[in-house]
């Protein structure tokens, strides 16, 4: 079922021997650099070697490698065997000695092998995986190997060569000829119109040429550019409609250089100085403000959820409403809604046709601002798509609605990580040029940016805009806590932001004007209780609430008693409770519930007959048509809610009561949507709630895969099909291909995940005998070369040029 390691090829001897000769450190480094090897828990070194040279594993390493490593590896795949450091340096256009360090790094991670001194062998799995390295076609000998001698002789004669000799001779002669730059140049001078362009394209862009009406139709026509090339071996037909340029010709036409440019080091990150303290201050403010805005949005949607569009997502009108509430631009608001959705705090409920906060929001609400921010950032980091898509304009110029279903981008997570990493590397007090961030990020992991419609610069621009919205950066520079996040240090980020955030306070200052002021971030318990009993008048670094009869009534409605409220206030107000406030609470307590409104029969019950008579005769209540039923009871034909509301409006402070006469405790019920786990199935987002320790990536992934099941297919068939195709896998899961693969691997084994696990695995591998007869595993050619620099850091985590 697991395609990446169920069919390991028989390990080629030299690779196994290299493993057997390596030290514990080398093995450990290999397993850390290529975690897929460790995750599958190989039983011995032979198994490890087999996996190490499998196309899947080697391909995965290649995908994650930086541009220099990719170019070295691809060049080795392209060069005719046996390659040497010199031939490699020639093909890349650098000095041989420059390559010793990167080659040593690649050797240690099992991608390159030295044989007999200078001879280089590339991981055979990679050679299989990259069968068209450097956009080059197969070698001439391979393309023409099956052709008749007379056919080869015909081509040779066209090139001005002798047509005599056996096939081997002919192939050698032909290969030599099309590898000859001067010969090719002189040939091209006599080429018919269009041929030079065609050759140029096949050499530099892509070696294949497609002729819809068949290669054979033009093969005999010297005046036709394709026919002309075919007759001279510059293109060779491979099937009915395809012709390919032989590798040697393309290399020659490229002037012997496989790539237009090659650099061992990433582009320089351009930076300018910026005040870090000011950056931090601004970013902290943005970060905390964002948290407040998300809270405000969720609170608003708790009572009035946002209506969904027919096609899904939150429409422009609802976005406008939210934008007004949050005093932000609509575009920014759309992103904010999308972010809240990404974090699982709000979710669409298709059955009810609205979007509302989820149960996860209730948990989030109980966290401190800094923790809430970390939740938002974590969700953003792991989001399968770009949140800034929401609110942006589509091809028709319409704003893309937030919370709509979207095809996730498999590379978004990695792109985000790269962008904020590179920005952070500018260092404290430095802002980085955006273009140069994109260039460095692209160099570091080219595969992540390929196959995107947008350029790396555009993508980085979006990502850093999103990051700025979160306060990870400001003024083009990372904030100190943004840098901690980039470094994976969530706790550090919390501390740094916490240091800039208003202190968490558990006390308020109560004043005679009936305000409560928390001169910092109110502790969650304090905040929720005050939100219940008072109205927020000003928020920001401090929060000011105002008590009123109406706001305190909410507290009584929620079941608080006067003594409880007094106690709460006294406990949290070291400066004392002003007499006026204390009086207000007691007075309300005395009067609250004097008039009671029944739900079932819609009656007014009142122990005070005068009050009841007053109620019944009150002109303002005339529409209720209250009739006195008994000295202490009056009834109405209107629904109880209306009755209660009208009485309250008229100032009677009615209380609702249950059937058995006790006070019914009502708190305004907040509307909730199904949680994001259920929603994940619809959107393909498998991201867990980060605080859920029990989340199992494997089961979540499998759960998603199960959902894709077509009727009639069994799970296993479908799973096997998806797992066999890494691209399909990444598409359906919305995870970067590599992550998806790792997750699948973890499913099959007791994967070692900790450092101790890894060390134990290394020890086990070294002590488990390899079942074969060879005596001395250490052959001289496999020993580490003396001129290598063993301490060179692995290339997949580059340092910049000094």
């Amino acid at each position: 079922m697991m395609p990446f390691f169920t069919h390991p090829t028989e390990p080629p001897e030299p690779w196994l021997e290299a493993l057997m000769a390596s030290t514990s450190d080398d093995l450990g480094l290999l397993l850390r650099a290529r975690p897929d090897l460790a995750l599958s828990s190989p039983k011995d070194l032979a198994a490890l070697a087999g996996m190490m040279v499998s196309p899947a594993s080697a391909g995965m390493f290649f995908e994650g490698a930086n541009r220099a490593s990719q170019q070295v590896l691809e060049a080795l795949c392209a060069l005719p065997a046996p390659a040497t450091t010199n031939s490699l340096a020639g093909a890349l256009g650098c000095r041989p000695e420059d390559l010793s360090a990167p080659l040593e790094s690649l050797r240690r991670v099992g991608m390159v092998l030295y044989r007999g001194g200078n001879e280089l062998t590339v991981n055979p799995g990679l050679a299989l995986a990259r069968d068209w390295p450097c956009h080059l076609g197969p070698p001439l000998a391979k393309l023409l190997g099956q052709r008749s001698n007379s056919e080869l002789a015909r081509i040779a004669r066209r090139l001005g060569l002798s047509g005599n000799g056996n096939k081997e001779d002919l192939l050698r002669r032909l290969t030599k000829a099309i590898s000859d730059r001067e010969l090719l140049a002189s040939l091209l001078r006599q080429a018919p119109p269009g041929a030079a362009e065609l050759v140029e394209n096949a050499a530099h862009v892509w070696p294949q040429y497609h002729i819809t009406y068949g290669v054979a139709a033009v093969s005999g026509r010297d005046a036709h550019p394709v026919g002309w090339c075919l007759q001279r071996g510059l293109l060779i037909g491979t099937d009915f409609s395809t012709a390919v340029m032989p590798r040697e010709a393309a290399i020659a036409l490229r002037g012997g250089r496989l790539f237009p440019s090659f650099s061992l080091y990433p582009p320089q990150l351009l930076t300018t100085p910026v005040d870090q303290d000011e950056t931090d201050g601004e970013a902290a403010h943005i970060a905390l403000d964002l948290v407040k805005a998300v809270s405000a949005l969720c609170e608003a949607w708790s009572s009035v959820p946002a209506r969904l569009l027919q096609a899904g997502g939150v429409g422009a009108r609802e976005v406008r409403r939210a934008a007004k509430l949050l005093a932000r631009q609509e575009e920014v608001t759309a992103r904010l809604i999308e972010l809240a959705g990404t974090a699982g705090l709000v979710a669409p409920d298709e059955t009810l046709g609205w979007a509302a906060p989820t149960a996860e929001y209730d948990a989030w609400k109980g966290l401190s601002s800094v923790e809430q921010w970390v939740e938002l950032v974590s969700a953003w980091l792991m989001a399968p798509g770009h949140t800034s898509v929401a609110g942006s304009k589509d091809e028709d110029g319409k704003a893309v609605p937030p919370l709509a279903e979207r095809t996730p981008g498999p590379n978004a997570v990695m792109q985000r990580v790269l962008a904020i990493d590179v920005l952070a590397e500018a260092g404290p007090g430095r802002r980085a040029d955006l273009e140069s961030v994109a260039q460095v990020a692209d160099w570091r992991r080219p595969s992540t940016w390929q196959l995107e419609e947008a350029s790396p610069a555009e993508l980085v621009h979006w990502i850093l805009e999103e990051a700025a919205m979160l306060g990870l950066c400001a003024r083009g520079a990372s904030s100190s806590f943004g840098r901690a996040i980039a470094g994976g240090d969530t706790e550090g980020a919390k501390k740094l932001l916490g240091g800039l955030a208003p202190a968490v306070v558990d006390t308020v200052i109560l004043q005679a004007d009936l305000t409560a002021t928390a001169t910092g971030e109110p502790a969650p318990g304090l905040r929720s209780e005050l939100d219940l009993m008072a109205d927020v008048e000003s928020s920001g670094n401090a929060t000011v609430w105002r008590f009123s009869e109406a706001s305190l009534r909410r507290g009584f409605d929620a079941g608080r008693k006067a003594e409880e409220i007094q106690g709460f206030l006294a406990d949290h107000a070291p400066g004392g409770v002003p007499q006026a406030l204390s009086y207000l609470v007691d007075d309300l307590g005395r009067r609250y519930g004097r008039a009671r409104v029944g739900k079932a029969s819609s009656y007014v019950r009142c122990e005070d007959p005068v009050l009841l008579a007053e109620v019944v005769k009150d002109r303002r209540l005339a529409p209720l048509r209250l009739r006195p039923l008994a000295p202490a009871v009056a009834v109405s034909e209107r629904p109880p809610q209306e009755l209660c509301g009208a009485l309250a409006k008229a100032g009677y402070l009615p209380a609702s009561e249950t059937a058995d006469g006790t006070l019914a405790v009502t708190r305004p019920s907040a509307i909730r949507a199904p949680s994001s786990l259920a929603r994940g199935r619809q959107t393909g987002a498998a991201e867990p709630s980060p605080r859920d320790d029990d989340w199992n990536p494997v089961s979540a992934l499998l759960e998603q895969l199960q959902d894709l099941k077509e009727p009639g297919e069994t799970d296993e068939e479908l799973l096997a099909e998806i797992l066999d195709d890494p691209d399909l896998l990444s598409d359906v899961t919305g995870l970067p291909a590599e992550v998806a693969k790792l997750v699948v691997m973890m499913a099959a084994t007791d994967a070692p995940t900790t450092e101790q696990d890894l060390d134990a695995l290394v020890e086990r591998l070294r002590s488990t005998p390899v079942p074969r007869g060879k005596a001395d595993p250490v052959t001289p050619g496999l020993a580490k070369r003396a001129d290598m620099q063993p301490e060179y850091p692995p290339l997949f985590r580059d340092t910049r040029a000094g």
């Binding site: 200052i509 005679a512 004007d513 002021t517 670094n541 401090a542 400066g575 002109r619 100032g651």
Partner: protein, 551 residues
């Protein structure tokens, strides 16, 4: 981040913790550019408004100082948007300057051509301008000086007025008096701040001696002066002060009111007479330009009626002093005060002055009266528009008022009973055998009663609305409010002003509001409570049954 006393909120408010050791230094730094909105006991709220920033700019502060003060005193990171807003707003003041050109007379000049191009195209501004002189200068008809400033403020480019003032007809005024009269420190500061600028507003609480600031300014100007006041009683009061505190003789101080029309070197006129209309015209408005006034004083500038604003726009070359307890106008025309009278020149929070010992601290108590069943019924049955009256004039209040008065009299403290409804006031007067002063009372009778009250011959005086404005009742150490108009903030300021005058023996003033429980009288009382508490006064609520004289 530091441990400062200030918290800057993103909604442009500043919270100042008064208990912080640095609070006073911080306050003096932020007061120039932020308006004190609330000053209850622990946390004072200031608001940074465009007008406040321009006031600061007019007083010579720049954005850097403002930003600096915010950063220096703020406990937490200051919202970036606010800092940007401060800089941008302040930069708008003074881009346009009104000044006198040697050839063209009054002109508006700019250092920023784009701004000039913008405003000359503004619909509200264009008609007020004369011909263009050069790309940076445009001439302004002298008569439009005030209206232009108003219009420019509205389009967000307030002009700095450097066109100067005429000195007016010289007339030395010397401060002297039977008592060793001298200005208090803050009064001196206020006079100096105004003198340096030539026009503007001095904000001082009731009882802090605004009249004396006015007299000080008159002495400094040494010219013919016109004093505009709210009513005749206030006019007499000013007159008495002028005669008592300066060497001016009776013949030198004229009264221009409904009863007399004397124009003298120092003339006191009422807003009422100025705004009296005849055939759609304001015949008495001419008084403003009748004399070569060197100084015009607007008492209670927050009550300045709209027609007077219009006339004031025409006399922008005269020195103008506005006096008030509050810049807040119920009609929201604070901008007109800024444009036409001038920016704020001096401001001191009530509590600060009180701390200096000039105003007796007042104890405020709300006494809640439970209505009888009958009264409750009539309240419930009342039409909407009658509801307040029914609640506010409930007879149950009378017993409480009686008790309060009796207690005060027993303690030898003169009592002022204030109310809105004449029937209620008459009833109280009958029950307490106290004289009732209403709008129908003649001026002479009014003065007689005030005099008797001042001398202690009348222990209790019942007054209606007329007593609300600018009457000096130094010995009223207890005020009882039985009903009032819809809790407007101004009114509250006035009512409290009644009892906040300095007491000779340092007695504490007491302010009682008698309120009917469970009626909208109580709702209005809660607004009053908020206002008073925001001004920093202790405020207690008590039930009439449980009432005990506050100590």
């Amino acid at each position: 981040m530091n441990d400062g006393p200030l918290i800057v909120q993103s909604d442009q408010t500043l919270l100042l913790e008064t208990a912080h050791p640095e609070a006073e230094r911080c306050r003096s730094d932020i007061a120039p550019f932020a308006e004190l909105e609330r000053s209850p006991e622990h946390v004072h709220t200031y608001r940074v408004t465009p007008l406040a920033l321009w006031n600061a700019r007019a007083a010579g502060h720049d954005a850097e100082q403002v930003v600096d003060a915010l950063l220096r005193w703020s406990r937490y990171p200051v919202p970036q948007a606010l800092l940007i807003n401060v800089a941008e707003t302040m930069a708008r003041y003074g881009r346009l300057v009104l000044e006198v050109h040697p050839v063209h007379g009054l002109v508006m000049r700019t250092t920023d051509r784009a701004v000039l191009e913008e405003v000359v195209r503004a619909k509200a501004v264009a008609p007020l301008l004369g011909p263009r002189i050069d790309p940076e200068t445009v001439s302004v008809p002298g008569s439009e000086r005030g209206r232009l400033k108003q219009a420019l403020l509205k389009v967000g480019w307030p002009a700095e007025d450097r066109a100067g003032y005429v000195d007016g007809a010289s007339y030395p005024i010397v401060v002297q008096g039977p008592e060793a009269f001298s200005l208090r420190t803050y009064q001196k500061e206020a006079v100096e701040a105004f003198g340096a600028a030539g026009s503007g507003v001095v904000v001082l609480p009731c009882g802090a001696g605004k009249t004396l600031v006015g007299i000080g300014a008159m002495a400094a100007a040494g010219a013919h002066a016109l004093v505009l006041v709210t009513n005749t009683v206030a006019a007499r009061q000013w007159r008495a002060e002028l005669l008592g505190r300066t060497h001016l003789r009776d013949a030198e101080v004229g009264e221009y009111s409904g009863e007399k029309k004397d124009v003298r070197p120092v003339t006191i006129a009422t807003y009422q007479i100025l705004t009296a209309r005849r055939g759609g015209l304001y015949p008495h408005m001419e008084l403003l330009s009748a004399e070569d006034w060197g100084l015009i004083i607007y008492d209670e500038v927050h009550l300045l009626p709209a027609p007077v604003f219009r006339m004031t726009a025409d006399i922008q070359s005269r020195r103008r002093l506005g006096l008030t307890a509050t810049l807040v106008r119920e009609d929201g025309r604070e901008g007109d005060v800024f444009s036409l009278i001038g920016p704020k020149r001096y401001d001191a929070p009530w509590r600060d002055i009180e701390a200096q010992g000039w105003i007796a601290p007042a104890l405020c108590t709300e006494v809640r009266v439970t209505l009888t069943d009958e009264e409750r019924m009539s309240y419930a049955l009342a039409e909407n528009e009658e509801r307040y009256r029914v609640g506010a004039t409930a007879r149950s209040k009378l017993a409480v008022v009686e008790r309060l008065c009796a207690e005060a009299v027993e303690r030898g403290e003169p009592v002022l009973v204030i109310g809105q409804y004449l029937d209620q006031l008459d009833e109280i007067g009958r029950r307490l055998s106290a004289p009732v002063l209403t709008g129908k009372t003649t001026t002479r009778e009014r003065e007689r009663l005030f005099g008797a009250f001042r001398r202690g011959e009348i222990p209790v005086l019942v007054v209606s609305k007329v007593a609300n404005f600018s009457v000096d009742l130094p010995e009223a150490s207890v005020a009882v409010q039985v009903s009032g108009t819809f809790g407007s903030r101004q009114e509250e300021a006035q009512r409290l002003g009644r009892v906040l005058r300095p007491k000779k023996d340092g007695r504490q003033a007491r302010f009682f509001a008698v309120v009917s429980r469970d009626t909208n009288d109580q709702e209005f009382a809660s607004r009053r409570q908020r206002f008073l508490a925001e001004q920093g006064y202790s405020y207690r609520i008590t039930d009439a049954e449980a009432f005990a004289w506050p100590v």
